[in-house]
């Protein structure tokens, strides 16, 4: 096994374990958020193995560096020390949730063999910020501009929702 492949499998295991840690951690919301940080950083490592350097950097900068800090900020602001809620959601609903997730997973994995495209050759600049930037600003510029409107709407929405009094 080559070194990058080893990196992939190590990060993959790390991502799955920490994702499970986030979902199964019932006691502590901050620890759950930190587990999700580990998942995000592992995914960034996997992106590097898959030659998506720019996306890997954005993954760390935006997800790990901003979005999850926002989660931590809110958890600390609301002081959610423990996660012990009552009454518990019914066991049937929980089982149904898990069963649905497992069913979806089995379905996905069953579809996988033979359904995937062949691997194409790539240029050495594939995944660099120049490559992604050129297609972002030349081919998909409309989608990019629409995204800016989405973010503006989100900012206004968040302020309206979270502000105590709008005067």
């Amino acid at each position: 096994m080559s070194f990058p492949a080893g990196v992939f499998y190590v990060f993959a295991a790390l991502a799955v374990v920490s994702a499970l840690g986030m979902v199964l951690n019932l006691r502590n919301t901050v620890a759950g958020a930190m587990c999700l940080v580990v998942t995000m950083i592992s995914l960034a490592g996997i992106y590097v193995v898959l030659e998506a350097h720019f996306v890997a950097v954005l993954q760390i900068m935006v997800y790990a560096g901003a979005i999850l800090v926002l989660f931590l900020f809110v958890v600390m602001l609301l002081n959610l020390r423990s996660d012990a809620f009552s009454p518990p959601r019914s066991r049937i609903a929980k089982l149904a949730g898990v069963a649905l997730g497992v069913w979806a997973l089995v379905g996905f994995l069953g579809l996988l063999p033979g359904a995937l495209p062949p691997i194409a050759q790539i240029s050495p600049t594939f995944g660099s910020y120049r490559d992604v930037g050129l297609s972002l600003y030349r081919t998909y510029v409309v989608a990019f501009e629409v995204t800016s409107f989405l973010l503006l709407a989100a900012i206004v929405g968040a302020v309206v929702l979270a502000k105590r009094r709008l005067s």
């Binding site: 499998y9 993959a12 991502a15 994702a19 499970l20 986030m22 979902v23 919301t29 759950g32 958020a33 999700l36 998942t39 995000m40 996997i46 193995v49 898959l50 030659e51 720019f54 996306v55 935006v62 997800y63 901003a66 926002l70 989660f71 809110v74 602001l77 959610l80 996660d83 809620f85 009454p87 518990p88 929980k94 149904a96 949730g97 898990v98 649905l100 997730g101 997973l105 996905f108 994995l109 996988l112 995937l116 495209p117 062949p118 691997i119 790539i122 594939f126 490559d131 992604v132 297609s135 972002l136 998909y140 989405l150 973010l151 989100a154 929405g157 968040a158 309206v160 929702l161 979270a162």
Partner: protein, 101 residues
């Protein structure tokens, strides 16, 4: 490509399933939002994997779009969490069943 595409997409499916289970079974609104983030990330992973397989940067562009949608979703979602906590003193989704029949 250093690993088979099946493994990348398989990992993506596993993460997506974990996110689904988290979103369906947890009652803490913040954790539900985090599970949705995990599902979005799983989708991003398959985008990156397919982008590598096709040798096309479109997948990367799509990931950027997903990331900005996720950022918008988190901003609004956490805004809702804060105003909910202010009104109900709880982030348990079962405490906000006001509109449920």
């Amino acid at each position: 490509m250093v690993v088979p595409l099946e493994h990348v997409i398989g990992l993506s499916a596993v993460l997506f399933a974990i996110g689904t289970i988290g979103a369906l079974t947890r009652r803490n609104l913040v954790v539900i939002l985090m599970s949705i983030e995990l599902m979005l990330n799983a989708v991003n992973l398959s985008f990156v994997g397919f982008a590598r397989a096709h040798g096309d940067a479109l997948g990367h562009v799509f990931v950027l779009m997903v990331i900005s949608v996720a950022a918008a979703e988190v901003a609004v979602g956490l805004g809702i969490v804060i105003s909910l906590f202010r009104n109900r003193d709880s982030v348990n989704v079962e405490d906000v069943s006001l509109l449920r029949w």
